[in-house]
């Protein structure tokens, strides 16, 4: 059924169709609308015998799901930013124990300074925790990825994060085609656990593992992620067959065939990038784009194959490895090792700063002219930086950085950034 609804509402509807049995949540912007809607659906009996638990913290929320999953229930939660960090211990625990759960991440920047707007620092912070990470480009894809995620998690006994850009997608009203219950049931069978807390067949789960066995157990978790590389492709094809829609998959190429320059990105910015590609193509520029849909496992082979013929890959990423630079660009460089492709890092959109067509055009021109710094910070106000650095030199007790930068920028609430 086609609807014009808020992204969060669409995701809540999709999750409900997947027949979760235990949902446990703690509120955090920008995921609140999802969990609010799910609590309403549970209360109204729209999700069978599902239990909805208001946890005392995100750490509590995911811990509740660990117990529920081990007891054989299909489980779901959602979080972002600080909340994801607060549950870090449980995130590693869930993947280490091999318990399938699906968690929506409404991608949001991590503080300090506190910031509620979109970037990818949260899911990036936990990229190596053993969860599969899928990124949605649109609200339609967010809906579809949740359906695929439950199946993926349960097939592999590996938890899955579905990442969607906070506010940009969660709070955007877009047309979405929601599947029917029959369609979802045909795609997603009931959960059959690999391990189960069952008095009729007792087992001990969560024992300590020493040096004699830890490496093997750890490798097996890594192996599960590598299996996911195939499973994600399989599910993409099956989803297309059953739902008639291309969604998910490891990567998606756009006009890359004879492209000299290819932009690479995760998530919703791919929409804007395709507009830029089309306009530049109309102007005769050989340019294309590559969307990375599955960030973990990282599709090394697929990325290499997609990018190897081009001259230049520009990775536009909404994250910054402090003290180092790009994260996704490093992954891309690794995938392209040995090949003469120039890989450029563009750090953009931090803390919710909009990535505009105009800025992308300018950046691409500079890159093609060989004049782009590396890494490049898109739309960074270097004047503000210089002034703040100079101010700090004046005395030791120079005060908090964030407050002084805000004063410089003279930020007004509704000013478009």
């Amino acid at each position: 059924m086609r609807l014009q609804i808020e992204g969060s509402q669409a995701v809540a509807a999709a999750v409900a169709l997947c027949r979760p049995e235990v949902i446990s949540c703690y509120p955090i912007t920008p995921q609140t609308h999802i969990v609010e809607r799910l609590s309403e659906l549970v209360r109204n009996g729209k999700i069978g015998s599902c239990r909805f638990i208001n946890a005392e913290s995100e750490f509590g929320a995911l811990s509740i799901l660990i117990g529920a999953s081990a007891a054989g229930a299909r489980t779901y939660t959602a979080t972002a930013s600080q909340g994801l960090l607060f549950m870090t211990e449980a995130v590693y625990n869930a993947s280490g124990l091999g318990l399938p759960s699906v968690m929506t991440i409404g991608n949001r920047a991590i503080g300090a300074p506190i910031n509620i707007w979109n970037d990818h620092s949260d899911s990036m912070a936990l990229r190596d925790a053993g969860w599969i990470q899928l990124h949605a480009e649109s609200n339609q894809e967010a809906v579809d990825l949740h359906v695929q995620a439950f199946r993926l998690a349960e097939t592999l006994s590996c938890p899955v994060m579905v990442c969607m850009d906070g506010f940009v997608l969660t709070h955007a009203y877009e047309p979405v085609d929601l599947p029917t219950q029959e369609q979802v049931d045909a795609f997603l069978p009931p959960y059959e656990p690999v391990q189960l807390l069952d008095p009729d067949d007792p087992m001990t789960i969560g024992a300590m593992v020493g040096p004699e066995a830890f490496a093997e157990v750890r490798y097996l978790t890594h192996h599960t992620q590598l299996r996911a590389l195939e499973e994600i492709v399989t599910l993409e094809a099956e989803f297309l067959r059953q739902f008639g829609r291309a969604s998910g998959g490891l990567i998606e190429r756009y006009r890359t065939e004879d492209a000299e320059t290819i932009l690479v990105a995760l998530g919703s910015v791919n929409g804007t990038i395709r507009e830029v590609v089309d306009e530049l193509r109309d102007a005769g520029v050989a340019i294309g784009s590559l969307k990375i849909g599955a960030y973990r496992p990282f599709p090394v082979g697929a990325v290499r194959e997609a990018l190897h013929p081009c001259r230049r890959a520009i990775v536009v990423e909404k994250d910054l490895a402090l003290g180092k630079g790009g994260i996704v660009s490093s992954d891309v460089k690794m995938a392209l090792r040995g090949l003469p492709v120039i890989v450029q890092t563009v750090i953009a959109g931090l803390g919710g700063r909009s990535i505009t067509k105009a800025s992308l055009f300018q950046m691409i021109n500079e890159a093609r002219a060989g004049k782009l710094d590396e890494p490049h910070f898109l739309d960074l106000d270097w004047d503000v930086i210089r002034k703040e650095l100079a101010r700090r030199q004046q005395r030791r007790r120079s005060g908090p950085t964030a407050e002084h930068v805000l004063r410089q920028v003279n930020s007004v609430a509704s000013k478009m950034v």
């Binding site: 506010f167 009203y173 909009s354 067509k357 105009a358």
Partner: protein
Amino acid sequence: MVTAAELVAVAAFLDGKYAQAFPSFGSERMGAPVMAFCRISERAIRLREPVMKPDALIIQDPTLLHQVDLFTGLSPSGYLLLNTSQEPHRLGLDDLMARLPAAHIRAVPATEIAFKQTGRPIPNAALIGGLAALTGWVTLESVRKAISQKFPGRVGAANAAAAQAVYEAVRSSRTASERERTHAVAD
């Protein structure tokens, strides 16, 4: 404004178009200044930046007019719908108004109209009726339907009535200014 942009998007959807609406929050809390954006298109919308060059601007809270930089980017043939009971001339917007075609600017007391119809001074839904009248990008019928879908029962009906009242107010004021022009020419 978030609800208004959402309603525009739903109305456009009901008219068979593609639409995208999203907010730009200044803060998490209710009552903080907020901008919201909407795009309407015949084709699927991929762009995700804020609307930098609006074809129309709805000012719901005139007290923000000079606090926030609202008008850069407004197209020279753009539309401006102001929620105010005052004459536009008295809002200090003469420069802006000189840029735009006269027929594209309308002031309407949407808060008062909404209050009369719904008992609450919330003009969001009502203003969309004004947008429909001013631009024709969405039909009144779809605006009413979108409002009824969002707000159940009597509340929806009252807001839809408010939207219709604002629609008619904008239409009749257009007719009035056109009449003025005709008179001026005739003089």
